[in-house]
């Protein structure tokens, strides 16, 4: 076995040259392309990851905005509900007040009407009573009636204060006797006599007729009025009746 040293040298150089050529035209360019693609892929992945993060952030922002909308909607609904409830209560209160005012007004009006009607009926009853009393008095003997009322008037004069009686006893004092019907001479004299005695005076009394008294007398002194007649009695009875109804 022999070795051809020339061939050995040529083959060594050949392989060296091949190493150099392939390194220059194959291994490095292909490896560089692989690395470039790897970097491109990494950059694309980074960009995709970045965009994904941005998309997630945007989605999160949208979700937060939607949540804000929902919360705002709930707040607005709650506020509107509260406002409606308040308005409803206010309207109810106003309606209650209005109804109460209307009821009170109606009640007052009804009461006034009732009172007016009652007064009217009372007045009519009073008129009726006066009419009845007048008719009854008309059927009686005027002298007897006058004597009865004259006794009552004297009794009333007796209950006057002394000062009033003293003032009436003065000579200059003017005394007026009002009767419901004209007095006859005898009755007028009797009345004059009894009243002068009751008052302790000698002065003559002025006589006057007032049919409104219905029956009885009324004595007008300087500082007093003393009466004993049906008009006063009926007025007193009416007042007592009204007082009883109110109580």
């Amino acid at each position: 076995m022999t070795i051809d040293w020339w061939t050995l040298a040529i083959q060594t150089i050949n392989v060296l040259i091949l190493v150099w050529l392939l390194a220059r035209f194959f291994w490095r360019p292909v490896a560089a392309m692989i690395e470039e693609r790897r970097q491109t892929a990494a950059r694309i992945l980074d960009d995709a990851e970045k965009k994904r993060a941005e998309a997630e952030a945007a989605e999160k922002a949208v979700a937060e905005t939607r949540a804000g909308f929902a919360a705002e909607r709930d707040t607005l609904l709650e506020a509107a509900r509260a406002e409606a409830e308040s308005l409803h209560r206010k309207r109810l209160a106003e309606a209650d007040r209005d109804a109460a005012a209307r009821i009170a007004k109606a009640e007052a009006a009804a009461r006034d009407a009732h009172q007016a009607e009652e007064r009217a009926w009372f007045d009519r009853a009073g008129d009726l009573a006066l009419s009845i009393a007048g008719r009854l008095a008309g059927r009686l003997d005027p002298a007897v009636i006058a004597a009865a009322f004259l006794d009552g008037l004297v009794a009333e004069i007796a209950r006057l204060p002394d000062a009033a009686k003293a003032a009436a006893a003065l000579p200059e004092a003017e005394l007026e006797l009002v009767s419901a019907a004209p007095l006859g001479p005898a009755l007028a004299e009797t009345a004059q006599q009894r009243l002068r005695e009751a008052l302790g005076t000698t002065a003559a009394l002025n006589l006057r007729v007032d049919a409104a008294l219905i029956a009885g007398f009324e004595l007008h002194g300087p500082h007093f009025v003393v009466g004993n007649n049906w008009r006063e009695d009926l007025a007193r009875i009416g007042q007592e009746l009204r007082h009883d109804r109110r109580s």
């Binding site: 076995m1 022999t2 070795i3 051809d4 020339w6 061939t7 050995l8 040298a9 040529i10 083959q11 060594t12 050949n14 392989v15 060296l16 040259i17 091949l18 190493v19 150099w20 050529l21 392939l22 390194a23 035209f25 194959f26 291994w27 490095r28 360019p29 292909v30 490896a31 392309m33 692989i34 470039e36 693609r37 491109t40």
Partner: protein, 230 residues
């Protein structure tokens, strides 16, 4: 039939004899460089089939270097990758009728083993400097220096013998069978020879990586230790 152990000069360029192995080597070089140029010119971010195959080859080579040598591939990719591709192409060139693979000749395998031997020195010196490379022979202790020196030569010689023996024997056997039997009989043996050629190319490249990695690792380790001491 000529002896596979002899190289016959086809012609002479001056004093230099040009054998068939050299011519086939030139043809393989032209083929590989031409293919590399085609791939280089057609490189695109969107790879076609040819570029995809080329990138697959580069990726596989890088993975092998990374897993075997435990270093970054770029510095060693061209040398290891070219060794593998050249030996594989040379071994498979026997499929072309009338072509004898250059790796079946002792000079070509010796040249490849010599380049591995020199590359071990080159990469060892680059990794740890001349001192670091020489100090790598003293690991694990100076007593081992003679054995390590002998080993550095013998392991390269083993590369030569292994590749030459396998390829040459395959070609020799096919030649014998072809001379004794018909045309179709050697086809199974040729298929087996394809497998043997691929395995031998892989083994040669892996062993080259192991030798380089061993020296680079030891030289770098010694160099780092010396820097720590200083």
């Amino acid at each position: 039939m000529t002896s596979p152990l002899e190289s016959t000069a086809l012609f002479h360029l001056g004093p230099v004899p040009i054998t068939g192995a050299v011519l086939v080597t030139w043809a393989i070089m032209a083929l590989l460089v031409g293919g590399g140029l085609i791939v280089r010119l057609r490189l695109s971010p969107r790879p076609g089939r040819v570029q995809a195959v080329a990138e697959l080859l580069v990726d596989v080579m890088d993975d092998q270097i990374r897993e075997t040598m435990r270093v970054a591939p770029p510095r060693y990719r061209a040398f290891i990758g070219t060794l593998f591709v050249f030996i594989l192409t040379a071994n498979w060139s026997s499929l072309v009728p009338g072509v004898e693979p250059p790796t079946a000749k002792l000079e070509t395998d010796a040249a490849l083993a010599l380049l591995v031997f020199l590359s071990v020195i080159w990469f060892g010196v680059r990794a740890g400097g001349v001192g670091g490379y020489l100090a790598s022979f003293s690991t694990p202790n100076p007593v081992m220096i003679p054995l390590n020196v002998i080993e550095s030569v013998t392991r390269s010689f083993s590369l030569l013998v292994r590749l030459f023996g396998n390829v040459m024997s395959g070609v020799f056997v096919i030649g014998i069978v072809l001379s004794l039997a018909g045309l179709l009989v050697p086809i199974p043996l040729m298929a087996l020879d394809l497998l043997t050629g691929a395995v031998q190319a892989y083994i040669f490249a892996v062993l080259a990586m192991v030798f380089i990695a061993e020296t680079v690792g030891e030289a770098g380790h010694v160099s780092a230790k010396n820097e720590d001491r200083s």
